[in-house]
Symmetry: C2
Subunit: 346 residues, 2 copies
DNA sequence: TTGAAAGCGCTAACAC
DNA sequence: GTGTTAGCGCTTTCAA
């Protein structure tokens, strides 16, 4: 409980000045080897721990970086965060993590917290592409490097790591078309449960789906894309239950994310509608659930580990060279075909 | 990019001393209302933000608390953490989060990080009840309050929030017995996939299972409890596959956690063994997956939100009154019976 | 190679 | 009510 030892305590015991002790501890050249050793020994003996706050105050650094994510409950972001922590903690940084429950107001508060904590850099997956754009810009202008991962705000000039949501959405949709045609349906109706309008990648996924249908002259017709209120399992269940009630179950369903897909599958399952025979289902951003439902859910898998690590490295690069160029990394993803969309892989 | 304004800047502009500015900003009484207003206005105009590091250095506080959890990927801990953050951030604390991938060495490093960051309190769910006990004690002795949640180390004198793992495990097992007997099996064989030996609650769950069987004169026999190497879905799948291969599938299976249970269900499913007709399955610590598998998985649900909030409050109490007594809160849980163990709820 | 002194931005006695 | 001063623990000139 009693005060931690300081460099002054060490200096006194050794009859040195605190400057020398500081230098010895910091590894600054220009200290007699013998002296340095004595200091190091004494520090160890006294269980000396440097006071980061004091050090940071003089250097006006914090060695903290901030991570801001929309939510925490889907294990998607946590897995990315682990990698971010690995990169930064091994370099002596602490990582301040906040989640904002998909509320952009909360996201703004989190950013303020970051600012107040004087983080040296920010990694963010945005809750809304647009609502806080000005804040991102201000932060950057004030000298806090900021890097987007997964969900970016393309209107802001900052480095980012994403996947090509449009492309993979397009592929996923084409796969659904093929699988239906293989089953003999020449003109399958392929619906989309789409995500929020104010998330860039949600729009990309929507366009991917839409363009794929257009390419194959399959629409889309009005009403083929349904806006999900939340992007949760419950909402997927609700939407599909409604369609079942109205008798408008399509031949295939492409969802903005896995929870929506899994929820839809549940409703179908309960209604006795067989997947993939009657309807093929496809998710996005492969989650744990994909491998747990039966049949297993086809989905687009993102390289989470790589995304976290890349984002961390991009931020580090910006921190070390603030004037370095903005780079937008687009990682590869993969289309994992499983039982929910392919009878053969059952 | 240019340096943030300080109280000195404000003081200069206003022809005041920095002390007065400090007092005005801090809300200390003894400042003329007019002066205070002027300071506040100027601060706002200059976009003044207090420098926490400086403030903390003088007060020798950090306003940071640390959270240490075994892992991040099961959404179990993230959901608890959200509540912890709610409690502390609304009180002006930052929350430093670390996960240790179920490695006690990593946990130790995380604790060192906490120490170096001079956190004012620690909330921890231990990776191993035992390996770091001395460290916990040292931390507490040095004046850092520490509170266990979910997984505690009972050998350490510190407040904790848990559920009664023994009791719920006992109940869960009795339920399995009843459900089998209802189906006409007088002497069902009920196995257990047990968790690591060095986690207290894993042993509690084991004893709950074992005692329930003993009470009903059903063993357990040697070999009825199988030690899981990991507590993952993959391991559950592996263990059950092995049993299927050997033809030793029991009448019911009680698992240390949901991932093990879900993995086992997958193996059974693939082997065409019907749940719950041929075998009833039960998990623990209800996860998202429980509601996603079919049939849905019976499990013991913990009140995650309450656990997080309670843990936070206990820590807060210790921080405010370091000499206050240690309290061990045991929260209520619930046994959620679903299709995997009850034909009627299918 | 080492020491003295100034200062990071803020708070808190202690004066006036 | 307000200013002066000392100091939190450390780094970093500048001298010696």
């Amino acid at each position: 409980m009693n005060r931690n030892p300081t460099i002054i305590d060490i200096a006194r015991k050794l009859g040195l000045s605190k400057s020398t002790v500081s230098r010895a501890l910091a590894g600054t050249p220009g200290v007699k080897e013998q002296t340095r050793q004595a200091v190091l020994d004494m520090a160890a003996a006294m269980h000396y721990r440097p006071n980061y706050m004091a050090r940071n105050l003089t250097k006006s650094r914090t060695r903290i970086i901030g991570v801001v994510v929309p939510e925490f409950i889907n294990s998607f972001f946590p897995r990315i965060i682990i990698q971010i922590q690995n990169v930064f903690e091994s370099r002596g940084y602490s990582v301040l993590i906040t989640q904002c429950d998909n509320s952009w107001e909360a996201e703004r508060r989190n950013l303020q917290l970051m600012e107040d904590s004087m983080v040296e850099g920010i990694l963010i997956s945005v809750t809304s592409s647009g609502k806080n754009s000005d804040y991102y810009r201000t932060l950057i202008a004030k000298g806090t490097p900021l890097v987007f991962f997964n969900r970016s705000d393309s209107s802001v000039d900052a480095s980012s790591v994403t996947i090509d949501d449009y492309k993979w959405s397009f592929f996923a949709t084409e796969h659904l078309i093929y699988t239906r045609r293989k089953a003999g349906q020449e003109r399958p109706r392929i619906m989309h449960f789409r995500g929020p309008l104010d998330i860039d990648l949600s729009n990309s996924r929507f366009r991917g789906w839409s363009d794929a249908l257009a390419k194959h002259h399959l629409g889309p017709e009005a009403g083929d894309a349904v806006m999900a209120r939340d992007i949760t399992r419950e909402e997927g269940y609700r939407l599909m239950s409604e369609m079942i009630g109205k008798g408008t179950v399509p031949d295939a369903l492409f969802c903005f994310n896995d929870p929506l897909a899994v929820g839809a599958m549940k409703a179908l399952h309960e209604a006795g509608i067989v997947i993939p025979d009657r309807i093929a289902v496809m998710g996005f951003s492969e989650s744990q659930s994909a491998l747990v439902v039966s049949p297993e859910l086809s989905s687009v898998a993102q390289p989470l580990e790589e995304m976290g690590e890349t984002a961390a490295r991009l931020l580090l690069a910006k921190m070390e060279a603030p004037d370095s160029e903005t780079v937008r990394v687009v990682l590869n993803a993969s289309l994992n075909i499983r039982g929910s969309s392919d009878p053969e892989s059952l």
